[in-house]
Subunit: 216 residues, 2 copies
């Protein structure tokens, strides 16, 4: 079999399994978001803020953490009382629908209202792998520079929401917000963009309110 | 052919071609560095600083830029008078020895003393692909957080040098330099680590002096 054929098979099989995940999520009435970004954009810090805000008497949050190595991110969340399971990919550069299905086997999905999947830090490879999510969120740190959407357009094209994080650094770096946003909207004209900081908490409530209106 | 076999074939073929590149570099007496990092760590900004410092009457610098999309980085360098050629991978997540060999066909390597290859912004996939370089440099931005070496150990294990960039941000972010360095040295005990800022220029001369002593 040629490399191209093998690659096509991998994508096709993933799409089929993502469909099965999506059906399971719908049956359980679980809203699912898939967070994609470069390493160190602040996905886990965002989830630390989102978890307590989106958990209430009637709403349970569960997190799947994807990393190449370590249980660190899941540990960080558990310390805050957020239920989380860690997938360590041991070298693999993205999560896929199979990996997600495997960890879901041990989760009572019917009790989960919002499932947050934090993908492996990589702005390229996770793009092509549907996990069965309802919402794809691309997170960017201001420190990465305002040219990332034009250099990695697929990550933005495939996203429904963009979170521009670490906006507290704007006074200390060269970053043109307009340039960033126009690049992101060139890749995806109807992209919803939030600005957040996990240090000053600017924008966190707005993003959580918006998400609550979707999954509540 | 199974997926695993295809993958093994890809790596073996790359290794063979990297060997051919290495021979060509040695014959031309060209010293080659391969810079690997997350998107937005500041690789191009570093090269903007390195180019003029490492170019002299007797020493010519040439840059190969790797990006998923756009000629931006090569354009940035050309504007400073640094000779550069851009590889656009159009979705592919890393450079490989073949892509490098192809662009080298048009380069008079005998006239180049230092070839800088800026890999695609990705802390995972470029790790496994030798390009035939003399020196592998992993660049990290402080804004990415001090846990990146333990979460992406292969990138550090395969590197000879680590540049911790954007150290001007240290007062504005949560970052433990000791934690970062001990994580990096756990992956690669004899890793040489430089601290740099392309805004204050701290550490730039030291890194360029060290590199000059290697390739001069």
């Amino acid at each position: 079999m040629s490399e191209v054929k093998v690659e096509k098979n991998v994508y096709n099989r993933n799409q089929e399994l993502a469909g099965q995940n999506r059906q399971r999520f719908q049956d359980a009435q679980t809203y699912v978001i898939n967070m994609v970004s470069s390493p160190g954009s602040g996905k886990t810090s965002l989830i630390e803020q989102m978890g307590p805000r989106l958990t209430s008497a009637g709403s349970k949050v569960f997190v799947i953490e994807g990393d190449v190595e370590t249980e660190r991110d899941a540990d960080r969340l558990r310390q805050l009382g957020i239920e989380a399971v860690q997938i360590q990919t041991h070298g693999s550069c993205h999560l896929d629908a199979t990996k997600v299905a495997k960890v879901l086997a041990g989760v009572k999905l019917e009790e989960v209202d919002l499932l947050i999947i934090e993908n492996v830090g990589n702005l390229i490879c996770p793009t092509g792998f549907d996990l069965g999510e309802d919402l794809r969120v691309v997170v960017a740190s201001t420190a990465e520079g305002d040219d990332k959407p034009v250099k990695y357009p697929a990550a933005y094209h495939k996203a429904d929401v963009c979170i521009l994080n670490k906006i507290d650094l704007l006074g200390h770096i060269d970053f043109d917000v307009q340039q960033f946003q126009s690049g992101a909207r060139r890749a995806k004209p109807d992209l919803t963009i939030f600005h957040t900081s996990c240090r000053t908490l600017e924008g966190i409530e707005l993003w959580c309110d918006w998400l609550r209106s979707r999954c509540g």
